[in-house]
Each structure stands twice: as structure tokens, then as C-alpha cells.
């Protein structure tokens, strides 16, 4: 019988090794799988390459993972925000690498990996320094830049509801990159607010089909990054 449920976040992320590439869902605080990230901090894997749109806020979640010196390289579109301090300090000190990818290209590179498409052409970055050194090609008289797929060993994802087969539903704009990352990682680990019975999710409403999901834990009262920051919390 298929049952992707794990008992705890620690169990679900236990085998993430040093040097792994890890996609983390979320756009800023919205959709960030804080409990899974904190479990990864407890577990201590180092030299990670992390893919997320941003670099975290305050000293919790992704920012705490970076602050704990577990991340060698960030791949993201927008590495600073009003409440991000950890990454900027390490970056200015030359202690962390950055691969800057425009947001739509980041999404499509992840999607392409999940879809088995090794590269694609996009108009994004044409005529800018971010296109330097990249292969270009003309289609219908217009120049496009080639971008490769972006894969990961693991994806850490937050959703609203999941069944034991791994069918997922998200909440509002917390969906963002998560369905793409579920497709692109070798092992996709999901924290769900509600673990529901098989059949409880209307097949017409499934956003991520269970084939893209490997492990599920239930976190029925997930903490929100913005709440933790407002409370002045840090992790560990």
C-alpha cells in the first residue's frame, strides 16, 4: 500500500546529505515550509545549494538555515528584502555564492527539469548583462537566450491539504513555486496543514498530483515566518 506519511519532520529530512541541492518552496514568507527548514537546521547538513525566490527574512526559516552556515550557494531572483540581513552580510563578506536568475526564468528552469526538457529559449535578459556568455538564437527574427533546466535532490514544500498518496492543495498565493519544485526534485518532502483521507480531495481540485510527492508530514498548526519575526524570534 502506498503511504508517503512520515511521523516527524526530522524523520522526513534525515537523509539529506552534505552538498545536496535543495529547493525550498515559498515566495518570501508565503508558502515557506518553516518546520521542515528548522528540522534541516537541527539535522545539520552542510554545503547545501538552496533554490528559493529569496534568501529569507529575520533569523528564522531560510534565513536561519543560511545563518547557520549550512548553505554554500543560493540560487534566487531577489536576494534582499526589507527584513533580510543574514544573506546580505554573508554575501558582502564573500562567504556565500549567489546565482541570480530572473524570476520567470527561475520558475521555467524548475518546470523544465520536472518536465524532462533540458533547456529552453526565453526573451528574458536579452540585451542585459545577465545574458552575457549565454547561447542565443533567433526565432521569427527575434533573439532569445538559452536557459538550462534546474534540478534538485530534494524539495521542501508546504501545502494546505494532502492525502497519503501525495495529492496536494495549496492556500492562495502560498502556491507560487511549490508545484514546480515538487516536479523537479528527486525526493519531494511536503508538510501539510491537513492530512486528509484518500478521496477527500476532489480530483478536479488537485494542484500537485501525488506522483510528484515522496514524503508527507502533518504540521497541523504551522508557524508563519512573519509571525515569528513580529515576535522577535530566532532559530535555533
Amino acid at each position: 500500500m502506498i503511504n508517503k506519511e512520515y511521523a516527524t519532520a526530522a524523520d522526513a529530512i534525515a537523509d539529506i546529505p552534505d552538498g545536496a541541492t535543495v529547493m525550498i518552496g515559498g515566495f518570501g514568507a508565503s508558502g515557506s515550509p518553516v518546520e521542515l527548514i528548522h528540522a534541516l537546521i537541527d539535522q545539520g547538513a552542510k554545503n547545501l545549494t538552496v533554490i528559493n525566490n529569496n534568501t529569507g527574512n529575520g533569523e528564522v526559516g531560510l534565513a536561519a538555515l543560511i545563518g547557520n552556515n549550512q548553505v554554500r550557494k543560493m540560487i534566487c531572483s531577489f536576494p534582499r528584502s526589507s527584513q533580510s540581513r543574514v544573506f546580505p552580510e554573508l554575501y558582502k563578506a564573500g562567504k556565500i555564492e549567489l546565482e541570480l536568475v530572473p524570476q520567470g526564468t527561475l520558475a521555467e528552469r524548475i518546470r523544465a527539469a520536472g518536465a524532462g526538457i533540458p533547456a529552453f529559449y526565453t526573451p528574458t535578459t536579452v540585451g542585459t548583462i545577465l545574458a552575457e556568455g549565454k547561447e542565443t538564437r533567433q526565432f521569427d527574427g527575434r533573439t532569445f537566450v538559452m536557459e538550462p533546466w534546474l534540478k534538485a535532490d530534494f524539495a521542501l514544500i508546504k501545502c494546505e491539504s494532502a492525502d497519503r498518496l501525495g495529492n496536494l492543495v495549496y492556500n492562495k498565493t502560498a502556491r507560487n513555486f511549490s508545484p514546480l519544485m515538487c516536479m523537479a526534485a528527486t525526493t519531494t518532502i511536503v508538510q501539510t496543514k491537513n492530512l486528509v483521507a484518500r478521496g477527500d480531495i476532489d480530483p478536479e481540485h488537485v494542484i500537485t498530483p501525488g506522483i510528484f510527492v515522496n514524503r508527507i508530514i502533518e504540521v497541523s498548526k504551522p508557524v508563519h515566518e512573519d509571525t515569528l519575526i513580529a515576535e522577535g524570534r530566532s532559530y535555533p
Partner: protein, 214 residues
């Protein structure tokens, strides 16, 4: 004595040029104000890069959902008829030419329509591009709202951008505190002057040649 348009008046002026029924993406800052000035009888649908069409105004404390944000990571609401989608669909709307109008702020805009709004290129600065390069390549009409000059009086409308480009030749119209300016094959051309502003003042504060109203 009037001294041009304030931020809200610039946004209101830009809103007048957006046709009824447009799908619109608004950048952070003054562009966000456009949503407050939808002309009577028109309906715009707002797109936000992080996965929603039909974005509404900021929530009341009761309405607030921590999972419902805009691309600027501010809490927003969803209007009746809104739709959520993942990032690849969101940027398919952008890159695929389905969004009609994008209104952006800028650091510099050039007479050939080049836009520079993501990086000063200074050593040590942390580059952050977000979705700007996707928007300028994919959206049908790119409008810019900006003060005519920087806080220190440097022109923002220039012959060629000195900052790294967001995209080449993609701006069609600029709304400043002094004037509405089109990017034409002949360079900048004033379309409309703000109340109390003379063409000579606009010319003096522009970093390259600019043509008067036709």
C-alpha cells in the same frame, strides 16, 4: 502656482491611458498607486507575479490571510473572480504576451526606450532582479512612472543608460512629475505638460534632447 504632478497625480494620469478590460501588472512604489485611480466606467484586472489575477486592495485586519501576498510581499485581498496559479503559469502570462500593460518605476530610461531599474552596478551591491526582466520582455505595453530627476537633480531621462539594463528598447511612455513623454523613433517627445510646467523646464531637466508637443 502649480509645480507639476505629485505622486498620486502621476499615477492618476497613467491610469487614464489604460484601456477598459486591460490585464495590468503594477510595479512597487508609485506604480501601485495606479490602482486607486481607475477611471469611471473602466475595469482592470490586476496580475501579481506570485500567482494571482484579480488582486484587490490591502485587507482589513479581519480579512488578512498570511498566505495572501502581492509581489512586493505586502498583504492583499482577492476580488470576486480572482484566480490563483503557480509561478510558471504566472510568468507564462507575462512572457507569453497575455498581460496588456505593466507600469514600472525606474532609475533611468533612455531616449531609445532602454530601461534600467534593477541595479546600480556598484561593486558590493547585492543584485536583485526579481521579475523585472521577464515583464519588460513579455508585457505588451511598458509604461514608466518616475520623478523627472533624482533627489540630487540628476536627469533620469537620458541619452543612454549608465546603469545595467533591465531591457533594451522596451519603454513606450513615461509619466513624470513634469510631463507625459513618449519614446518615439526620433527620441523623447512631450505628449502633455503638467500644470504650470513649461517645455523649457522639461528640456532643462532632461539628460538629452527632447521634442515638444506636436
Amino acid at each position: 502656482m502649480s509645480t507639476g504632478w505629485n505622486r498620486e497625480e502621476m499615477a492618476a494620469r497613467a491610469a487614464q491611458d489604460i484601456p477598459d478590460g486591460s490585464y495590468v501588472n503594477l510595479g512597487i512604489g508609485i506604480p501601485e498607486l495606479v490602482a486607486k485611480f481607475v477611471p469611471e466606467g473602466r475595469e482592470f484586472i490586476y496580475h501579481t507575479e506570485n500567482g494571482m489575477l484579480g488582486m484587490g486592495p490591502p485587507p482589513t485586519e479581519d480579512e488578512k490571510d498570511l498566505d495572501l501576498m502581492n509581489a512586493g510581499k505586502k498583504y492583499v485581498t482577492a476580488l470576486p473572480g480572482a484566480a490563483y496559479f503557480h509561478h510558471a503559469d504566472s510568468f507564462s502570462m507575462i512572457r507569453g504576451g497575455h498581460i496588456d500593460v505593466c507600469v514600472l518605476g525606474t532609475m533611468q530610461v533612455a531616449a531609445n526606450g532602454d530601461l534600467a531599474n534593477w541595479s546600480t552596478g556598484e561593486p558590493g551591491a547585492i543584485p536583485a532582479v526579481g521579475g523585472a526582466m521577464d515583464l519588460v520582455q513579455g508585457v505588451k505595453h511598458i509604461y514608466v512612472i518616475t520623478q523627472h530627476t533624482t533627489k540630487t537633480g540628476e536627469p533620469k531621462l537620458v541619452e543612454r543608460c549608465s546603469y545595467p539594463l533591465t531591457g533594451p528598447g522596451i519603454v513606450s511612455r513615461i509619466y513624470t512629475d513634469l510631463a507625459v513623454v513618449d519614446v518615439t523613433p526620433d527620441g523623447f517627445r512631450v505628449v502633455e505638460l503638467a500644470p504650470g510646467i513649461t517645455f523649457e523646464e522639461v528640456e532643462n531637466k532632461t539628460g538629452t534632447s527632447i521634442l515638444p508637443q506636436v
